[in-house]
Point group: C2
Chain length 422, copies 2
Amino acid sequence: MRVGICGLGTVGSGLFNLFANNRSEIDRKTVISVELVQVGCRRDHPDCDLSSVNVTRDIFDVARNPEVDVLVELIGGTDTAKDLVLEAISHGKHIVTANKALIALHGNEVFAAADAKGVTVRYEASIAGGIPIVKAIREGLAGNQIEWVAGMINGTTNFILTEMSKEGSNRSFDDVLKEAQDLGYAEADPTFDVEGIDAAHKLTILASIAFGIPLNFEAMYTEGISRITSDDIQFAAELGYCIKHLGVAQRDGDDVELRVHPTLIAEDQMLAQVNGVMNAVMVGSDAAGATMYYGAGAGARPTASAVMADIIDAARETSVPNLGFNDWSEPNFLPISSISSSYYLRLAVEDKAGVMANVTTVLSNHEVSIEALIQKDARVRDAQIVILTNEVVESQMDAAISELESLENVTSSVSRIRVASF
Amino acid sequence: MRVGICGLGTVGSGLFNLFANNRSEIDRKTVISVELVQVGCRRDHPDCDLSSVNVTRDIFDVARNPEVDVLVELIGGTDTAKDLVLEAISHGKHIVTANKALIALHGNEVFAAADAKGVTVRYEASIAGGIPIVKAIREGLAGNQIEWVAGMINGTTNFILTEMSKEGSNRSFDDVLKEAQDLGYAEADPTFDVEGIDAAHKLTILASIAFGIPLNFEAMYTEGISRITSDDIQFAAELGYCIKHLGVAQRDGDDVELRVHPTLIAEDQMLAQVNGVMNAVMVGSDAAGATMYYGAGAGARPTASAVMADIIDAARETSVPNLGFNDWSEPNFLPISSISSSYYLRLAVEDKAGVMANVTTVLSNHEVSIEALIQKDARVRDAQIVILTNEVVESQMDAAISELESLENVTSSVSRIRVASF
């Protein structure tokens, strides 16, 4: 099976060298020999010896090359990548890609074109790098009805929250973000990661393969971590929780929730142990129960590992449907206002008699019960109240928060973080 | 694809009902329809409505039935199971089995017969129940050279050690074993689980698919947990470790270590968080780095989940080699005396001047350094010394322990527990 790589950046160079280093190990695992025959890249990579491979500066050469059976798309972005992939499919080539945005935003079109041509599109590397989570859900748990998926699938946000959570750290989001940028864990413009868009792309794909539903990025509720304060981290810790940036996809009959947001997780949960830039995905399914998959979510070699697994899969001629299902059910995507959750609330109040009674009365009027409450004495002017609530529908909480914010003695907006239910 | 199940015990009945419950979900995931056509069982199961399926009391009927494409072996044991599977293979049937002993002890013969007939043998359920670890190693990490596998793959031992480790528990092995038996987590004769044989069967298979080597149960060093005391648990905790029953397979060139034994694991490691009857396998590989897989290791439904995944895989006609590799390398299995490890040592000594000097001199003479040391005052007669050593070759440690035990003032044998190196 003849492979052409498009893009020789971080992942592309990692893949190129993995081909060289693990040549004999890969030969032992495939009946059909896997050969790297062409590389399409704008410039050579200093880590790669390209002397024995056909190099082209026009990546579309690879899409049209009759000597290539599988095109590996590692150029990133969505516009050119989509054109490239569709061109390769039209020439009957299988596709392997690490491009989550391409799949999340244009996957329905790409898979339809692939199905029409009878070729496969593989995308293990698009979610959680070195963790074979697509294979686990699409194949390893194929006998199950999958009920929910909860994933920490963005290393940047996990690194920042982990640093903010270190004992005695007391560091602000902005301070740690700068460190993450210095270490290369965050981009110069970090919006894509810290506002949750990258995680939302990945969760879009996870939800499709878990539930057998069309890719629908638009149905996702997306919230980042830039508003999390060191106070939030400390209050959560006092209550026995850590704060993680979690993607949650959940199915109940035809109803599907898709949401990415900061989440309180009880500190004795497995997901609460996942720190730094590491990723983990927990899958709740009807027969296997909860299983978890943990590993490096990014980086040249972990991502190349996933790309190579897809290439080997292609050589092994597995006939798994691209998104795991032959036909899709049409789900009812729930708006965030319809989900149920427990909530962490933080608000500042004037340090006066009767304020606590006002706050608790508002909650009680909206049928929100209090599971735990912390009040910190006013050191400067205002006191802080932190409340952990029972599980209520989000629209009910919206109404309660709105009324709390209108109280005369409440001096801040109400910070709200959802609590994990597993 | 027509399926026949042999054995309708815990797993068989779980699988039978999973077929019924997830019928439509499975149809959505397979192009070729999967039909359950025959059940071979000595007696009916109260949870299963067998009215619409062909039932036989002779399981060999299933192996010979021309209407069956895949035989699912769930009878357990090795003798009849092996005859059954070989008979089915001789009739050109694919095999799915949950039987770790069969694969670990007779796998080489079974796979050779299957290869000769051009059929597949799948065994996802034989290791770690609901966790798709065979698929992860054989396919998800196929682009990697796998360097080591470390697994907590026996729920009974993990449950017992977890209970013994609970804050202030101070419970003995025998006491917790009895509770495990009452809860159904341990057999009336618990030898198979608590002495590590079950874990050794599973690790034999893991090592084969990770390294591409023949199945060799005989090469395994196997040690159980029955000698672990509550003192060991407490001393380990004081040093920042928990004690887990771990299977370790490690490759270095042609050298392969296979060992199952109690192991100290630093308490901030992911594997240290795996408690109760849960299982987890961590895999160290050259590109993906360390990835971990966590879930329920036993039980009707998790095991049925794995069996069903294999059945669906068969219907999807994947062409993955049975053990992941087309050809095997011939490894050099290292005896336990050749491995390198840090060690936890515990010994009782007379409470006299100079004893500590004697002990440390013996270690020093054998070039064993001390990383940490605890001495507990004698309350009754003898003092306890606990030592954490640097990494040395086991034969060196054997010699040191032998000399320690010959010291006049050392009043106990030396308890030794290996320490995880990751």
